[in-house]
Symmetry: C2
């Protein structure tokens, strides 16, 4: 099974934007809560990666779930006090699905209603014809 | 240089949504115009791929630019009669930049103002330890 990456935007100021030191921004708090929950579960199956701006500022906080050969999903309108569990659940569903496209009805309600975009997988480059 | 992929959502009905046969939907018209322009330029450097829904319906039409080891960008609010050139220009800039992050000031105005989201590259999986 390929690695599933959960990117969490740590520069997100939330909606409406709050003025807070970098480590107390809503995005940074969302990252901390995701990491705390996964550690509490002993779950090392999701690779949590902080990101500097996912360009979804009008609908912050933001996270994205991706993996080699799989669809990428961007989720928005995330509240660090309410939605950390939802994006963890979605990342686990994404990991379990071969193409990274969990059944719609199974996805957390927040994910169903606040998916910002999705992008097909980048196909691996074709082997060079020069190789034997 | 790695392949640059320009995904164009062919199911987009535009904003506000129009009722049209599949091949005349705004998304399908955007794809046709992108392909027509690249063919006219003799440009085969961009791999144009039709996509079925990029989940950006409220801000359709939609396209995404991606490439192995590069950032992915989703662009919205695209009008097939006005913005085919903008996403081609952005795809060429993305192709020319090692990380797929063209200089902000160089990007087409529509791309600067209507970027829906961006996602970091998926790192290639580490080589299996089982391989010799």
């Amino acid at each position: 099974m390929t690695t599933t990456i959960l990117y969490v935007c740590v520069t997100c100021r939330g909606t409406p934007p709050v003025d807070a030191p970098a480590n107390l921004r809503p995005g940074a708090r969302l990252l901390a809560e995701v990491e705390r929950r996964l550690a509490a579960d002993g779950d090392k199956s999701i690779d949590v990666v902080p990101a500097n701006c996912l360009s979804n500022c009008p609908r912050a906080c933001s996270a994205a779930v991706s993996g080699s050969g799989k669809w990428t999903y961007v989720i928005g309108d995330l509240d660090p006090d309410r939605h950390a569990g939802d994006i963890i659940d979605f990342a686990r569903q994404h990991r379990a699905h071969e193409q990274g496209v969990p059944e719609w009805r199974d996805r957390p309600e927040h994910v169903r209603k606040h998916t910002i975009a999705r992008v097909p997988p980048v196909k691996p480059a074709a082997p060079s014809q020069e190789q034997s």
